[in-house]
């Protein structure tokens, strides 16, 4: 086929709007406020170690919970009849059609001290919970928002596992636990890795969830970056430097993780 050149506009587009902006981030990160070259922004980074640690920790917790909660759902749904499978998947994607800020805001109504959950608990004569404005609430928000991103890729890999492989193992005397441990789980690993990436990255960089559910008490990486561009501390150079460090950390972790799996991410995103 001679149709190779029809991809040229796409290549130019990606170079202009994906590569060039990232190069700009790198340039900004090494530029001083006066306009010269500097490493000062990276030197200042030590001040933000706490924020980096906290963001990574909360994102890891959220990712672990999403995995623990989402894997069984993906597994159960993937093994249902085709009608249930399709309905299940639609139900998992459907919430995306309601704006995520609104849904997160609704969690505020649910979790507040005078919120709906506490009203309900008091109605039952039970003691109330106090979660809002804590790291716990931020994690709930992350899990809520990103759980579908864990379920969908795992589901689509498990669904594609050839049932005959499983039957063969069973015929050879493997019980269901062995089948799961030796066949299903290893085969679902690419989906798991892709799910972990898709939950971890948005969790570590969110600035909306922490602001709405965390009561502004914990500053996460996303907040810190946003702050340098539109917030209380204008410094786009520092903001770029923080973005760059975050991007490197995320990419390195993804690369390390994909070493363990087949690394065929992306292909089973949705």
């Amino acid at each position: 086929m001679k149709a190779r050149y029809i991809s040229v506009p796409y290549v130019i587009w990606m170079a202009l709007f994906v590569i060039a902006p990232l190069i700009l981030v790198v340039i900004f990160a090494f530029t001083s406020e006066a306009g010269g070259f500097t490493l000062e922004h990276f030197a200042r980074m030590s001040r933000y170690v706490g924020i980096f640690a906290n963001s990574l920790f909360l994102a890891l917790v959220a990712t672990a919970i999403c995995f623990a909660a989402g894997y069984p759902v993906a597994y159960i749904l993937a093994r249902k009849e085709s009608v249930f499978r399709r309905v299940g998947m639609l139900l998992i994607m459907l919430p995306m059609w309601m704006n995520f800020l609104l849904r997160t805001y609704a969690w505020m109504s649910l979790l507040e001290d005078n919120g709906l959950i506490n009203r309900f608990l008091t109605f039952l004569g039970l003691p109330g919970i106090s979660v809002i404005n804590t790291d716990g609430a931020v994690v709930i928000g992350m899990v809520y928002n990103f759980l579908p991103f864990m379920i969908l890729p795992i589901f689509s890999v498990i669904e594609k596992i050839d049932r005959r492989t499983i039957e063969a193992a069973q015929d050879l005397g493997a019980n269901s636990l062995v089948v799961f441990r030796r066949i299903i789980f290893p085969l679902s690993l690419p989906g798991v890795l892709s799910g972990i990436t898709m939950v971890f990255v948005p969790s570590v960089s969110t600035f909306v969830i922490s602001r709405l559910l965390g009561g502004g008490k914990t500053l996460l990486l996303g907040d810190l970056i946003e702050m340098q561009f539109f917030g209380n501390a204008y410094n786009p150079y520092l903001g770029s430097a923080i973005s760059l460090v975050m991007m490197v950390i995320v990419m390195v972790s993804i690369a390390i993780m994909n070493r363990f799996g087949e690394g065929e991410e992306g292909a089973m995103l949705l």
Binding site: N114, K217, L224
Partner: protein, 353 residues
Amino acid sequence: MKKRNAASMALVLALTLVLGVLGTGCGATTQEKREVNVYNWGEYIDTDVLTQFEKETGIKVNYKTYPTNEALYSSLKSGGVSYDVIIPSDYMISRMIQEDMLDKIDFKNVPNADKVDEVYRNPEYDPTGEYSVPYMWGTVGIIYDTKVVTEPVTSWSILFNEKYSGKILMFDNSRDAIGIALKYLGYSYNTTDKDQIKEAVDLLVQQKPLVQAYVMDQIFEKLTGGEAAIGPYYAGDAVTMMEENPDLAFCLPSEGSNIFVDAMCIPKGAANKEEAEEFINFMCRGDISAANCQVTGYSTPIGEAYDLLPEDMRDNTVMYPDKETLAKCETYTNLPQDILDFYDEEWVRLMTD
């Protein structure tokens, strides 16, 4: 199967297109129209005034809001935006004048600026009076729920009282929050002594476990809904909240507080300067300023508007405190760059503690 997919997709698209046309249709935007891009604080205008302006002048208002002076500064600095009217506070105006971010206003086009009371002319933040026209003024005080806080409130100390742990709200911007701690410690808002600022932030670090949340306009819901019991905020908003929830009360602390003026300015490079001046002129009209005051609860710098207010508002000491109380209040001035950096640094320390 494929046909069905295509059909369902067509349905989705048709639906959204119809809704979209509906949406833009109701918005009724025509390209030829004159427009003015206004960037204001949240909850700081009577939105009917905007409609009235559009009707009277035929200029379309694109209205957006920002939460803090610093956020306003950042989005102007970040570039790529073009606003025609902004309403920063005093100290931010002097910073913007220093950094050459504002355009001089052509007062020929703003005859109503004469209506501004003498006291508010040629202020410290804009000594030549060429860059700004006062919009509203007010003070910062403590708003509290009398059902929870039964003791008399006279001092900033109530914000640091362990009795109200988990019920206290605090400002989510460094200048106001650190300012409160500075005043409580007996220092000036405008101190450039890093030790004093550090001491103030140490106090805030101690206070943090008692704080339910750091907020700006979210305070409206949290205080009127009874989610929180005490919080510092602007007097005008206190008036609005007290209307909604009569259990709320306001106190201007005895240590003194902040008095501020927010004024309308035109940023450098505004695309619609003429329309901006027309807008500013409109906002200075007595009836318009009065309408804004009635909705926002803030205090007007325009005598004509004051006279138009209902009596209970004119006599409201939250909106118009007596001279003695005002004498104890201090304005913010623009801080030097190294102190601003130090504020940011210390704020991050508080947030990561």
